[in-house]
Amino acid sequence: MLSVAIFLPLLAGILILLVRREKFSKMLSLLTSGVVLLLVLSLFLGFDWSKAGFQYETKYTWIPTLGISYHVGVDGMAISLLLMTAIMFFASFIWSWKVEDRPNLYHALFLMLETACLGVFSALDFFLFYIFWEGMLIPMYFIIGLWGHERKVYAANKFFVYTFFGSLFLLLGIASLIAYAYINTGQISFDYAFHKNFSYPLWLQLLAFLLFGIGFAVKIPMWPVHTWLPDAHVEAPTAGSVILAAVLLKMGTYGFVRYSLPLFPEASKYYIPLIFILSLVAIVYAAMMAIAQTHIKRLIAYSSISHMGIVTLGTFASDINALNGAIYMMIAHGLSSATLFMSAGFIYDRIHSYHMDDLGGLARYLPKLAVVFMISGLAGIGFPGLAGFVAEFLVFLGTFKNFPLWAFIAGTGMILSAAYFLYMYKKVMFEEETISEYRLEKWKYLKDLELHHFVPFVLILACAFLLGIYPLPFVKIVEQTSRYILGG
């Protein structure tokens, strides 16, 4: 069933390219992503968090000479991320209902992207993982490059080259593990379980951690390899930004939890200072950068970098609560950043500008947007009752136990996050004094959220509320992974 969910979108995408009818493309992608959502939801509901290890495993021999197999399976973290991914794609397809520019190619690329994203989170074989990991590159490249804004080519190329840079390091890391295992056992194997039970010497761990780490860090993105993200977000179309922020960024942190922590336990301890410094710089510096922005999408992009810093902080704090929080944060940030980007995209659709100077007083003209924008922002800054709060609370709780000073400094990032969001909200939604009469006159006829905007918002924000108000079952599910990794 897991495999069906992974490959269904790819098949639908190919079908769309063959048929090339606009209505058909839209209906089929909505239907496919809906079916995938239902499939993943049923897997999620059937998931047994009290059992350790991977569930719904499927394994077929694929390339015996190289020890490669088709091996998929999920644990608590993976199933949660899969569910979030499925929700995001479903929401993006609803959101893209009115796309006019080359709709067939657009939907086909998104469907291929969905396969790659679902695959990354469920692959248990290095080779398979890498194929999915890189498979997301080409669709996203074209999504940014073809449907983006003015500097789309620059942003798309920057995105591609940065990500490719990271992935090659990841590939080298994988190759180093394979080569080491081959020298010592005479057996080539790409299987995750095989390598997890293999204990590597410290020098190899240190080396491979760095190689894997560069690959993941570019994708997260961690400071100082974060510069592609603001450009990519600014230029990407709304649905592209949503997927980029909600799903693609999580691949990096997912990689850290899935690969770096269990495969290189000693190296993970060794590099704690490095990771912490980078995370803190990301949290504080990116938050300060966010305050300085006037472009709303760029601001949200920097806020993403800041929040991903919290995830990496929690991942390596060697505490079960912090790790739970980090995984929870991946989901929570996915939900909040998606709706923030949707709000920004909606504003651009109506007013054709992302710049705060051109905006102001929108709360009067677009009241429904004002409400959802506020809730999204609050979810992002960790307001109690919403998903972000639970995540941040767990991360800081866990980190504080072992590293009180680091946790304290990271905490200032939270204050800054409230500052930049409220500042943006004020500039965009209130402050109409700065806007010319002529504009305000025109804005009287602005159309508020339509149905295809409203449904994704409600869907995602409902999840954010659910995760914020009743987090227990979800924490239990992600804890299944943390226990497995930290051994408790």
Binding site: L66, I131, E134, G145, V153, F160, V161, A175, A179, L207
Partner: protein
């Protein structure tokens, strides 16, 4: 006399002669038929490969055929057949239907096919010359065009230097060893080292590695594009299979490793940077070929099963990606006034979507994006290099790959993300070209997902 060993070559020679006579008597009207028959000859010779029992030898050990040379021969024949199929329409449209093309290409393949099973420097020299001289002529096929003549002349002059180096190196080798037979030679002897150095340089010239690459961009650009497709693939396949064999024999001698690493690193980086300043897609692909020469040379730094098999796999699938992309370039070139300048590629994604998609498939494959097969070669080479303790080399390889990604993307950007300013007529794809492009795409994709068939064969051959 063991006829079995030269069965494929015999088959090819007879075919070549048949085509030669056909060309004499068939009129120009039947040009298409002639090329088609010529294309069938190497494809049929592939069948004869199955009759050869390996390992086998002929002419007192001058010719030695093992499984790996059979694989190389199969690839060379396949590429020759495909490039012939892809060429007829191009030459018809350019109204220069020279029938010579057909048997010249077959002769070149005959030379290359002898090259991969030569176990003696004399045969190596002869077969390489047979291939090279026919290729000089092939490049100059457009005898009325200045560029084509210049390319041919340039390749001739520089290629002759290579010939001289090879001959001179063989002489030194003979002086040191007392025989022209290629075999292991443990003694550290200056004469021998000098001989190896010259021979390696000559082969490096033929695979267009820096600093012997100067003929490459001009020859590739000036040659008729279907010929470029051929000269950028088949000789490469033959030479790397030969180099692997030489690595097995000579890689432990002092200086081999250093020299190969030097050649390879220079090629990777020099070509990577120069490619950025190109304005013509055809030249850009020529430089990409130089960069790839660097990657492949990394695979013969030492003789190791994992590394060599990965390199040969990489090479084999790379040949199909290159063949496919040059055939697409040939299709585009059939249009009036098309120059391969970037500006001519603007908006290709809009009006010739399928061609643009296939070209970007091949370009993405050359970047090394999965699931295209070239990525498996890259991964295998990474693993091999690390296994042998060459981590710095692996890192250099990685850096060069990242650098290369940028210029391939440039082509894709022009094709898809820029609107065209000129009105082009729709590209006409002949049946042959369509077939070749499809076959190449299928190979590149399917060998990426199921590399077993080829990989096992290569491993068996080593």
């Amino acid at each position: 006399m063991n006829w079995n060993a030269i069965l494929p070559e015999l088959f090819l020679s007879v075919g070549t002669l048949v085509v030669f006579f056909l060309e004499l008597f068939l009129s120009r009207k039947h040009y298409k038929l002639l090329i088609f028959v010529a294309g069938l000859v190497p494809l049929l010779s592939i069948l004869s490969l199955f009759l050869v029992q390996t390992p086998t030898q002929a002419f007192f050990g001058v010719l030695y055929t093992d499984t790996s040379s059979l694989i190389a021969k199969g690839l060379i024949y396949l590429i020759t057949g495909l490039s012939l199929f892809a060429s007829y329409d191009y030459f018809l449209k350019k109204s220069s239907e020279y029938g010579e093309l057909a048997y010249l290409m077959l002769l070149a393949s005959l030379g290359l096919s002898l090259l991969v099973s030569s176990a003696n420097l004399a045969l190596l020299f002869l077969s390489l010359e047979l291939a090279s001289i026919t290729m000089y002529i092939l490049i100059g096929t457009f005898k009325r065009e200045y560029l084509s003549k210049e390319a041919s002349y340039k390749y001739l002059v520089i290629g002759s230097v290579g010939t001289a180096m090879l001959a001179f190196g063989s002489a030194f080798y003979y002086g040191a060893v007392g025989s022209l037979t290629l075999r292991q030679y443990a003694q550290d002897n200056t004469l021998f080292l000098l001989g190896m150095f010259l021979i390696l340089s000559a082969l490096a010239l033929k695979v267009s590695s820096v600093p012997f690459h100067f003929w490459t961009p001009d020859a590739y650009e000036g040659a008729p594009t279907p010929i470029t497709a051929y000269i950028s693939t088949a000789p490469k396949v033959a030479l790397y299979f030969l180099l692997t064999k030489m690595a097995m024999l000579f890689s432990q001698i002092g200086g081999w490793m250093l020299l190969v690493i030097l050649l390879s690193v220079l090629s990777m980086f020099y070509a990577g940077f120069i490619a950025y300043s190109q304005r013509s897609v055809k030249r850009l692909l020529a430089y990409s070929s130089v960069a790839h020469a660097g990657y492949f040379l990394l695979g013969i730094v030492v003789w190791d099963k994992l590394l060599n098999s990965a390199m040969l796999f990489y090479l084999s699938v790379y040949a199909f990606a290159v063949l496919g992309s040059f055939v697409i370039l040939a299709v585009l070139e059939k249009r009036e006034n098309f120059t391969h300048h970037f500006m001519d590629y603007k908006g290709l994604g809009r009006h010739d979507t399928l061609l643009a998609i296939f070209l970007s498939l091949f370009l993405f494959a050359m970047i090394g994006i999965p699931p295209m097969a070239l990525f498996i070669g890259k991964l295998g080479m990474f693993a091999g290099l690390i296994k042998l303790g060459f981590l710095p080399l692996a890192l250099l390889f990685l850096l060069a790959s990242i650098i290369s990604a940028g210029y391939y993307l440039k082509v894709i950007v022009y094709m898809f993300m820029e609107g065209s300013q000129r009105k082009w007529q729709k590209a006409e794809v002949s049946v042959g070209e369509a077939f070749v492009i499809l076959v190449c795409a299928v190979f590149v994709l399917s060998l990426g997902l199921f590399p077993n068939a080829l990989y096992d064969l290569i491993l068996k051959g080593l």
